[in-house]
């Protein structure tokens, strides 16, 4: 009798242990903030960074299931090798080749941003992804429908259970998973970073050094180091495209002083993120430098205050360009952790 009780107790304990192991918690991973960088805006408080969550977000990012006809994934307009933007297209095209009205922004160091989109209309990284899913010129689906597709899939419920503890996929877990991937896209390993960290054997050339000086004297107010953006809004005086008629930040705030203001983009990996400006009107970095040098019309009423034509000479232009190329981060652009999951 006694032994029987002992045996039963043993069985129950063993079963408990097995079920405990099956119900394993997701693996917490650390979000590494590069040295001397500001504190990230995204807090992870309600969405802890886990390996399972990151991998799930990565899978979703590359999966066209998020679009109405399963043709477009996030990666269609945000390609890793070009800093997660849509290279070669002035404005991005989505489902059925429909065109949007703006150049797709890069997805770099998003953890340090409090607003998203060129007009800053989106106030939190977790809700950003709903926009491309529902935009008629992007993925043209409905969030409810995407949830239905994911819940009916043979793989996703299990992956969500591993990452978030429940196999019922909701808006919340979908958007949190996507966020865990996009928030992890940190670029901090360019030549510029290595020089700043005083890494052995890495030095700026004379030309790059001069370029940095020019950059700091003229560009760094808006394209503030180390993010190379102040993450605020400004107008560089570009005239409105007569077809797109984009008023920028004004469309969000209806504040007249926000007219024609756009979010200042980061310059990290700028070598590969062409074309440039909110409407992608410049194909080459050289065109952008020429615009800031000689193209700005100082009489434009909405031009942001410190801006003026900088009148760089040819050497200065070349120096500046060579500095900008030091912001290329191959470790980021070719990081296998960010690429299409095999």
């Amino acid at each position: 009798m006694k032994y029987r009780i002992l045996f039963f107790t043993f069985c129950i304990c063993a079963l408990g242990l097995i079920s405990f192991q099956f119900k394993s918690e997701p693996t917490i991973i650390e979000f590494n903030v590069p040295k001397k960088w500001p504190k990230p805006i995204y807090s992870f408080q309600n969405n802890p960074l886990t390996e399972e969550g990151f991998q799930l977000g990565r899978k979703l990012f590359y999966d066209p299931i998020l679009s109405r006809d399963s043709t477009i994934s996030c990666a269609s307009c945000h390609l890793q090798y070009t800093g997660f933007t849509h290279v070669d297209h002035n404005v991005s095209h989505g489902i059925e080749g429909r065109k949007g009205t703006r150049n797709s922004p890069v997805l770099i160091n998003l953890a340090w941003n409090s607003t998203f989109h060129w007009d800053g209309g989106v106030n939190h990284l977790e809700v950003q992804g709903i926009n491309p899913i529902q935009h008629p010129a992007e993925m043209d689906d409905k969030l409810e429908n995407v949830l239905k597709k994911l819940n009916a899939s043979s793989v996703y419920p299990d992956l969500f259970k591993k990452a978030f503890g429940s196999d019922k996929i909701t808006s919340s877990t979908l958007m949190k998973a996507l966020t865990l991937f996009t928030v992890s896209l940190v670029s901090s390993d360019s030549k510029y970073d290595k020089v700043m960290r005083k890494e052995k054997g890495v030095q700026f050339s004379e030309q790059e050094k001069n370029g940095l000086k020019i950059f700091r004297n003229n560009c760094a107010v808006c394209h503030k180091e180390p993010l190379f953006t102040s993450t605020t809004f400004a107008s560089n005086g570009l005239k409105m495209d007569s077809l797109l008629k984009d008023v920028g930040r004004y469309a969000i705030t209806h504040n007249p002083t926000d007219s024609m203001l756009f979010k200042i983009p980061t310059l990290r990996n700028v070598e590969f993120t062409f074309p440039y400006m909110h409407d992608g009107r410049y194909k080459k970095l050289k065109d952008v430098i020429n615009y800031y040098s000689d193209g700005i019309d100082p009489s434009v009423s909405y031009l942001s205050k410190p801006l003026k034509p900088f009148h760089f000479n040819d050497t200065e232009k070349k120096d500046l360009l060579s500095f900008l190329l030091t912001l290329t981060d191959k470790a980021f652009l070719y990081n296998p952790r960010y690429s299409f999951p095999k």
């Binding site: 969405n47 989106v122 106030n123 808006s171 919340s172 949190k176 705030t253 209806h254």
Partner: protein, 223 residues
């Protein structure tokens, strides 16, 4: 021994259930037209010449505070989506207490608007969230009015926006003599009659007009 412990358990259960029963205060919201509770898709005569039909009426109430003689008794920081299409959503439950005043928000507060993705009544799939200009639609009213010439004018009022200078959230205070089964009426006849639907049939973005209509709405609640 066994009998004693089961007695204790039963006693605790009775105690628990007993408390469960006494801790319920019911607050019901009643959107009304001419002293009638509104039914969707039903035609109401606003006056001799104008008829009104409502097809959607959906709004958030949040952050309920209960007062007694001006003193705060209890506060609950949560938001509820009330939707005429789901009549049970109009009934809210709170712990009962001895109060004589209620204060609540019409709409969702700014901290909730910037909190990222949320569940339940605040899930974006509820159709009360703007994605391109992040923020909740506090109040949604859709329908039409028909004037005596037979002309039908559809209207859509999506009132929201939390950013300065156009925050649309409204604080509403009501006084009451009883502290149970409260009915808070929302007089939409008063609201619609105060709008020139002909010249303002659509409000779909944050801004001055959304603020103006939200203020107008805040005067339409009464017990």
């Amino acid at each position: 021994m066994i009998r004693k412990s089961s007695l204790i358990v039963s006693f605790l259960m009775v105690l628990f259930l007993g408390f469960g029963q006494t801790t319920s205060l019911k607050i019901t919201f009643q959107p009304r037209i001419s002293n009638e509770t509104i039914e969707l898709n039903k035609v109401y005569a606003l006056n001799d010449s104008v008829q009104l039909e409502i097809t959607t009426c959906r709004f958030y109430v949040s952050n309920f505070s209960f007062f007694s003689k001006g003193k705060l008794l209890s506060q609950q920081k949560s938001a509820f989506l009330l939707d005429l299409e789901h009549p049970t959503s109009l009934d809210l439950s709170f712990p009962s207490m001895d109060f004589d005043g209620i204060q609540f928000n019409l709409g969702v507060d700014s901290s909730t608007n910037v909190a990222g993705i949320l569940d339940g009544d605040l899930d974006p799939i509820k159709g009360m969230y703007w994605t391109w200009n992040s923020g909740y639609i506090n109040f949604k009213l859709e329908g039409s009015i028909t004037n005596n010439t037979g002309k039908k004018i559809p209207f859509e009022y999506h009132l929201g926006g939390y950013l300065s200078p156009y925050p649309t959230i409204q604080t509403i205070s009501v006084e009451t003599e009883q502290a149970e089964n409260i009915v808070i009426q929302l007089d939409l006849q008063h609201f619609i009659s105060a709008i020139d639907v002909n010249s303002c049939s659509n409000v779909m973005i944050p801004g001055a007009k959304a603020v103006e209509l939200s203020k107008l709405l805040s005067n339409c609640f009464k017990i």
